[in-house]
């Protein structure tokens, strides 16, 4: 009789835990990672493995320093951060670059703020932006994708978005980009970060996550739609200067960002309404940076900026509590 558990209600708990979510996201990232491995070969495998191992190692170190025990190591968040970071790096990233990225992601962005749940910015994204600002040359030399090879030699090549920005600066028009086949970036046969090259594989992962209820449709759909609609409007206004919306869909880190980074639980709004605001905001900032900014790609910056706005969004998008007058009723 003395052995009964006297915990408060409810006595039933769902089987979906943090681990479920983390490992589902990792699973959903695998198609994208696999495409990266196929086109970038051994190099990609090296980057992914190193990034994951280092992130887990630093997570363990941080937990040790903070005296938290190794229990949280099992939640998979460090593995996920490592994988996401790797997918945001060029496939020829040197080891020291990955090391710095992991330090920034795990120590500076996550554990300085208190570990999983307390960080206000997406660790992998902060690491990516830190590296991009610190080492722009290394971070923007993308190897050309080719079918699977064991060779570590690479030829670097600009991304379609980079080409577009250059051409605009130089000639005031889109140049070759206007006529390129959009099937290549859709499948993944164009330059870019390791994990962002295949819109198709990333979309598949996104559909899996939404179907399994790990993420909701709000952020990815509003994010991608906003980018589509805005680039479409500009394209209609001046197709010489602005690329087609489909081009913006399939190039750069949009899919990776919208599906896997913007939806990060910890750093995105919690209410459905807030998620929509967040998605639209991310989309608008991405478009502005891509079309008018100094950098060719704006997904990382857009998401980080909106991460900063998340507490504010949450505060102003509280759902109407049951039994309270709706806004319309309150006015009447």
């Amino acid at each position: 009789m003395t052995n009964t558990v006297l915990s408060p209600a409810p006595h039933l708990r769902t089987t979906k835990t943090i681990e479920t979510a983390m490992y589902s996201v990792i699973l959903a990232l695998l198609p994208g990672a696999a495409v990266g491995m196929y086109f970038f070969g051994l190099n990609a495998i090296r980057v992914i493995a190193l990034s994951i191992v280092l992130c887990v190692a630093f997570e363990a170190l941080a937990l040790r320093i903070r005296g938290r025990g190794m229990e949280p190591l099992k939640d998979g968040s460090a593995v996920l951060t490592g994988l996401l970071l790797a997918m945001n790096l060029p496939s020829n990233s040197p080891a020291w670059l990955i090391l710095i990225g992991c330090v920034v992601a795990i120590l500076m962005t996550k554990h300085v703020y208190g570990g999983l749940g307390y960080n206000s910015f997406n660790p992998a994204l902060v690491a990516r932006v830190f590296l991009l600002i610190s080492f722009p040359v290394v971070m923007t030399s993308w190897p050309e994708p080719k079918s699977f090879t064991l060779s570590l030699d690479t030829v670097t090549k600009a991304t379609p978005l980079g080409d577009m920005k250059m051409s605009l600066l130089l000639n005031g028009n889109l140049g070759d980009i206007a006529n390129m086949s959009l099937m290549d970036p859709f499948i993944g046969r164009l330059g870019g970060s390791l994990g962002e090259i295949s819109a198709l594989a990333l979309l598949a992962g996104g559909i899996f996550l939404i179907a399994r209820g790990i993420i909701t449709w709000h952020i990815p759909v509003t994010y991608i739609t906003t980018v589509f609609v805005m680039t479409w409007i500009y394209w209609l206004l001046d197709p010489v200067k602005y690329a087609s919306p489909v081009f913006h869909m399939v190039t750069g880190g949009l899919m990776l960002g919208a599906i896997f980074m913007a939806t990060d639980y910890v750093t995105s709004p919690i209410t459905p309404k807030g998620m929509i605001v967040f998605g639209v905001g991310c989309g608008a900032i991405t478009v502005f940076i891509r079309l008018f900014g100094g950098y060719p790609e704006g997904v990382s910056f857009a998401i980080l900026l909106m991460n900063a706005a998340t507490p504010l969004i949450d505060r102003y998008t509280q759902p109407r509590v049951f039994g309270y007058p709706t806004r319309k009723e309150a006015k009447a």
Binding site: V137, L169, G294
Partner: protein
């Protein structure tokens, strides 16, 4: 409280007066050196772009109409036979961030004596190598005739640096425009008499 008020005014006034007096003195002392430093700056840049030629920036210049209706101050180095080199400032508006100010020296035959970056706000490390001697040195002796003044990436002859294309491209473009302006206004720039501009 009247007396108190008077004292406040008095004290504050005294402090202001003392401070004003002190500052006036410092200003007098530093006026000359500051003016000299500013002149020195121009002289240095002129010496860099027209090596071996002497110019007094206070007198040897002429203000001419630029391409876009602006005024260009052209510093001119003369010897007994006429102008042996000119230098003027051009602006590259299309860098990463903000204008890049460039001083360029041109010899009468239209070849470059050299270029000097006066100021820029490019990202350090990424765009800033344009200030390095080994890059600026490329321009010496170049002219519109002997060189395709575009960066190699765009099919020209000027070597851009690894990774950074935008800043060198901006500078190269500005220098090319400057040379074109020189070619189109050569007679006016080199003429002995003040043009009626």
């Amino acid at each position: 409280m009247k007396g108190g008020m008077a004292r406040l005014i008095l004290v504050l006034g005294a402090i202001c007066f003392a401070s004003g007096f002190g500052l006036a003195m410092v200003y007098e002392i530093t006026k000359e050196p500051i003016a000299y430093q500013k002149k020195l700056e121009v002289i240095r840049s002129l010496a860099a772009v027209l090596p071996g030629l002497e110019i007094d920036p206070d007198s040897q210049y002429r203000d001419l109409a630029g391409k876009d209706g602006d005024t260009v101050r052209v510093f001119r180095s003369e010897d007994g036979d006429g102008v042996v080199g000119v230098a003027f400032q051009v602006i590259a508006p299309d860098g990463y961030s903000g204008n890049i100010y460039i001083m360029m020296g041109v010899l009468p035959d239209g070849t470059l004596g050299g270029i000097e970056i006066l100021s820029h706000a490019e990202t350090p490390g990424l765009g800033a190598p344009i200030t390095e001697e080994r890059w600026k040195g490329i321009f010496k002796g170049r002219s519109l005739e002997n060189t395709d003044l575009r960066v190699k990436k765009d099919g020209g002859d000027i070597d851009q640096m690894t990774g950074a294309t935008i800043s060198p491209r901006a500078v190269t473009g500005a220098v090319k425009k400057g040379l074109e302006w020189f070619r189109d206004n050569r007679d006016n720039i080199l003429s002995a008499e003040e043009a009626s501009s």
